[in-house]
């Protein structure tokens, strides 16, 4: 498959570099003026921006390797996310082979289904076959201690970290008339709006946030942050409509839905972390925590975005 037109790709990369450079320069000036030693907030801001650079470079490299690059990148993201999820939840020694199978069989097979565009099996392999066979294996092992809790954690782990994440590269398999060979740009649109929305909600929350949205789950999410962030990311979506088969208005609505799902994903991820008594999922990305801390919004947004495009635009 050909790469998407170089024109759009270049605008995209130039835009991202401009935004990140502005962020780095701003953080640099703030750090330069601030009293030393730097406050934890400022140190964390710099770490986060640096990690964004790394993430943008990684995705850009995958982008230039085309469909194979993108599929492999998201398989690796699934691996990191699954590792964090399984580490955090309860398991017993008798779960060893089921856990091993999640990494060694389910991840490669699900991404192979993405690669071969076998849509029928792609949608049911995990929610039907794995859902039934994993607890069956656990039962055959004969260890019934906290059985439901263990199998539920395993189901959640692969649904969240493998099934939903695999819907991002699955966008490459959609056939949108008049949009042939440009599907990689759909991934760029999804990632930029959803991740942008996370940042925008954070900024609006810091600037105008007064009313906590769900204080028991997350002490940092406010109504002002949510509304401002969603409005701004819808606008961002409309601006990026040149990447997509959508009109600017359609792009705004699609972005709004994706970002709202992303927000809910962040909320659910916070609830899980709170329940397990941790602040971050892991320590993979300096300043951000783990892979799931960064991908939680994408996990909820990707399947809804995928099915929206598939239902309304693809043949």
């Amino acid at each position: 498959m050909p790469l998407p037109p170089i024109h759009e790709t270049m605008i995209l990369i130039a835009g991202l570099v401009a935004v990140l450079s502005t962020a780095s320069v701003t953080a640099g000036i703030l750090s330069w003026r601030a009293p030393k030693p730097l406050s934890p907030t400022l140190t964390n801001l710099t770490q986060r921006i640096n990690a964004w650079w790394v993430m943008v470079v990684a995705i850009t490299v995958a982008f230039f390797f085309g469909h194979a690059g993108m599929t492999i990148l998201f398989a690796l993201i699934s691996f990191a996310a699954l590792r964090e999820f399984v580490t955090l939840t309860h398991s017993r020694r008798s779960d060893h082979w089921v856990l091993l199978g999640m990494f060694a069989i389910i991840i490669p097979f699900q991404y192979w289904l993405v690669w071969t565009a076998w849509y029928g099996l792609f949608t049911i392999f995990i929610p039907v076959y794995c859902f039934l066979l994993m607890p069956a294996m656990t039962a055959l092992n004969g260890d019934t201690e906290r059985f439901l809790e263990r199998v539920s954690a395993q189901q959640w782990a692969i649904m969240i970290s493998v099934y939903f994440v695999s819907h991002v590269p699955a966008l490459l398999t959609l056939n949108v008339p008049g949009f042939e060979g440009r599907n990689l740009l759909l991934i760029a649109f999804l990632i930029i709006t959803v991740q942008g929305s996370d940042v925008l909600q954070y900024i609006f929350g810091k600037l105008f946030g007064k009313h906590l949205l769900s204080p028991k789950v997350s002490p940092s999410k406010t109504w002002e942050g949510l509304v401002g962030g969603l409005a701004a990311s819808s606008l961002l979506g409309a601006l990026l409509s040149f990447l997509t088969p959508f009109s600017p208005l359609q792009a705004a609505v699609v972005a709004l839905v994706a970002c709202l799902m992303g927000f809910l994903g962040g909320l659910v991820a916070s609830a899980i972390k709170r329940d397990q008594g941790v602040k971050d999922w892991g320590h993979l990305i300096e300043g951000h925590g783990g892979m799931m801390d960064r991908a939680d919004s994408l996990v909820f947004a990707a399947p809804v975005f995928f099915h929206t495009v598939r239902y309304f635009w693809s043949v």
């Binding site: 399984v86 580490t87 017993r92 020694r93 060893h96 990494f103 320590h283």
Partner: protein, 222 residues
């Protein structure tokens, strides 16, 4: 008599390849990272003592040390297990440069303390699992055997650093050979020293409690 393979302060080519390869593998599988909580990385002579649940423990701990420190640090392993066949002995001694000791010994030449002291006397460091065997019980940490105390009495200038290895019993449980990828951390705690006049049992229990206190998630039950 146990043959000691320590001749130089650097690794052989085979040992360098093994050590770099295993550390890279440890990172891929467990994303291992050291948490220095009471001590700092240092090239001074030390005995790192850790909880033991899996063959991967020593690999994880070494992966947290610098290449230079790793070349002068030897894990103490049971000769009953690692000396059983020529292949195992080759892996333990020639590839991993560990020191084999006999848990049951009669011949004075096999006295584990003397063997470990001879390594320390060459200026090298040790990795010791004072529980004496891999822990498969529900207890987080078994009682310590006396080696730690005897070594420290004989060489008080060597620092004793407690190292809590997290999650490794879930990654590679005893009896399994394929690891499940799970995140692991190694928490390095403050050095422990024998207090003046401190009795053997009391010291070993105190060292054990210091190690146990490093567990970042003590309420976990798996």
């Amino acid at each position: 008599m146990t043959k000691l393979h320590i001749r130089a302060n650097t690794f052989t080519l085979l040992q360098t390849i093994t050590s770099v390869g295993l550390s890279a593998m440890a990172w891929v599988v467990t994303g291992v990272r050291p948490i220095w909580n009471g001590s700092q990385p240092s090239e001074r002579q030390r005995i790192y003592f850790a909880n033991h649940a899996s063959h991967g423990d020593f690999i994880l701990l070494s992966a947290c040390l610098s290449e230079k420190v790793r070349a002068r640090t030897h894990a103490v392993a049971a000769a009953e297990y690692w000396g059983k066949s020529r292949l195992r002995r080759y892996i333990a001694e020639d590839m991993l440069s560990s020191v084999l000791i006999h848990r049951q010994w009669t011949d004075e030449a096999e006295n584990p303390i003397n063997i470990m002291l001879s390594v320390l006397d060459q200026g090298h460091s040790l990795i010791l699992f004072p529980e004496g065997t891999r822990n498969t019980t529900d207890e987080p940490l078994l009682p310590f055997r006396s080696g730690l105390y005897n070594l420290s009495m004989a060489r008080p200038e060597v620092e004793l650093i407690p190292c809590w290895i997290e999650n490794m019993s879930r990654v590679l449980p005893k009896g399994q050979f394929l690891p499940v990828p799970l995140l692991c951390r190694v928490v390095f705690g403050p050095a422990v020293t024998i207090a003046p006049g401190e009795e053997r049992r009391a010291f070993l229990e105190r060292a054990r409690q210091t190690l146990l206190a490093l567990d970042p998630r003590p309420d976990r039950d798996d």
